[in-house]
């Protein structure tokens, strides 16, 4: 016979297994919805232990594209959002989902592509001209296609170059719907061009034949901002702990820590919390 004691034991075990998990540990923690670039570049792995040492607060980062991260905030599933698409961030604020936006840091986007450079754009100083050339030559271009900050920047650049990409795209333009790393993997495997933030690029380990083709145009500027999710709309938001994280990021100490993050001697993010127009 199936012994009732077995069932009880199994049920108790199941309860134990769930209760024993770290989620039940009481600690000061916040959830930050952020972009894949801040995680894939290794910034958080470096920065969060520094913040925890100062405040005892554990930051749980959910790394998503900017569009998804803002959606997570709007659903009250995060305490803080840390993203990089100013227009989308301002929309988020206007809808009442966030309290206030603080600029934190910047870096820049670059166009990477195969060393053989089939479109012949290497070294162009005008990103618009480079993108027009890619289209004219029908060279493979990999788009994130995921409403991320980088995807928004890419779409803005096509538009600024006078190209209506929705109408003018062809088989050469591939929208992947994937994160930055996955898109770079695809570009490396298929000898395509793509737009990436420089931090993810420097930290990325599967470059194969990819090299930077175009950089330095001021339209390639990439600004990061941070916002507390609105506690008036989302009572579950831990506003004191979340604000403590924001205060740290924009404080002189936090800004210095951000500038101190280097990979192969290169600084990946440049603090600019004092630039209130950023």
């Amino acid at each position: 016979m199936l012994n009732r004691r077995y069932l009880m034991a199994a049920a108790a075990l199941a309860g134990l297994a769930i209760a024993a998990q770290p989620g039940f540990a009481q600690e000061k923690s916040i959830v930050v919805a952020s972009t894949t670039s801040t995680q894939d570049s290794g910034l958080f792995e470096y920065l969060l232990p520094l913040f925890k040492a100062k405040t005892g607060i554990t930051v749980k980062v959910v790394a998503q594209g900017t569009g998804k991260a803002l959606d997570t905030g709007a659903r009250c599933d995060a305490d803080v959002v840390f993203v990089h698409a100013k227009a989308q961030e301002e929309k988020f604020l206007a809808a009442g989902h966030g309290v206030k936006r603080f600029p934190v840091m910047y870096n820049d986007f670059v166009i990477v592509g195969p060393k053989s450079d089939p479109a012949g754009i290497k070294g162009m100083k005008d990103v618009g001209k480079a993108m027009t050339t890619i289209m004219d030559k029908k060279a493979d271009f990999l788009s994130r296609g995921d409403r991320s900050g980088t995807n928004s920047a890419e779409l803005r650049l096509w538009k600024a170059s006078g190209i209506d990409i929705d109408k003018q795209k062809g088989p050469w333009y591939k929208a992947l719907g994937q994160g930055m790393g996955a898109t770079l993997n695809t570009a490396a495997a298929s000898n395509g061009y793509t737009l990436t933030d420089r931090a993810t690029w420097i930290h990325f380990k599967n470059k194969q034949n990819l090299v930077i083709e175009v950089e330095g145009d001021k339209r390639l500027f990439n600004q990061y901002g941070v916002m507390l999710v609105n506690p008036a709309k989302c009572p579950s938001v831990k506003k004191d702990l979340g604000q403590a994280f924001i205060d740290y990021l924009i404080s002189p100490a936090g800004q210095k820590d951000i500038a101190g993050y280097k990979v192969n001697g290169q600084e990946l993010f440049f603090p600019n919390a004092n630039d209130h127009n950023a």
Partner: protein, 230 residues
């Protein structure tokens, strides 16, 4: 986990980050299999021993649910557990508990469907004996499940395999948070996106080793149990 390390190096040096990830993977998947077994085994056995109109349809649906797409289950659980969803007040999204819930939904149909088949085959064999014993349907279910216990280990292992291997559901409901909801499969996805393919494949080998070890343990336990039971 630190950068610039191979998976072998992490294993050999006892990297605490790696061991935490391995442990969480095992705990989440095992918990899900346990919860799914508590639901799936009785339901499957009951379905094996009862006859009602539309039963064939139920069996077809149950068998089809063995192929539930993890990403769809993940999304559904995400919407349920989100603060703005119906179960939001529990604050379970982005926790290991949420991952157990999602995997339980994925695994329960597998265990139920395989239990149904196993018990039904056994029922065909012992039908007359059981009928002669003159016991109620619930006692029949219990008797047959107990008799089939060694075969049912395979159903549990199939469920564990599904849980340990999937990434689509847990990455959505767990969020792949470092040190909190990162498991083997989500870590592999992350290392792939960082372009560290050797580390990703190394972690994959570690995961496969764990799954083999769990299966070996289960097989050993089954053998020992059979010997003990005569």
């Amino acid at each position: 986990m630190t950068d610039d390390a191979s998976a072998l190096h992490l294993v050999l040096t006892g990297d605490p980050g790696l061991y935490a990830i391995v442990w969480l993977s095992i705990v989440v998947s095992m918990s899900a299999v346990l919860c799914a077994a508590l639901i799936g085994v009785p339901c499957g056995a009951l379905l094996a021993l009862t006859r009602f109109p539309g039963r064939d349809g139920v069996i077809v649906i149950l068998n089809a649910m063995m192929g539930l797409p993890p990403v769809v289950v993940g999304l559904a659980v995400y919407l349920l557990l989100s603060r703005s969803g119906p179960l939001g007040s529990f604050g379970l999204l982005f926790t290991p508990q949420a991952m157990v819930i999602a995997q339980t939904i994925l695994v329960a149909p597998i265990i139920a469907a395989l239990t149904r088949q196993t018990v039904e085959d056994l029922w065909a064999e012992y039908r007359e004996e059981l009928a002669a014993m003159d016991i109620g349907p619930l006692a029949r279910v219990a008797t047959l499940v107990w008799d089939a216990r060694f075969s049912l280990v395979t159903a549990l292992l199939a469920g564990f395999g599904r849980a340990a291997a999937e990434v689509g559901a847990i990455i959505i409901v767990g969020g792949n948070i470092d040190g909190f909801t990162r498991t083997m499969t989500t870590a592999i996805a992350l290392e792939t996106s960082k372009g560290d393919l050797p580390l990703a494949i190394g972690l994959g080998l570690v995961l496969i080793t764990i799954v083999v070890a769990v299966n070996a343990l289960a097989w050993g336990a089954r053998r020992a149990g059979e010997r003990y039971a005569g």
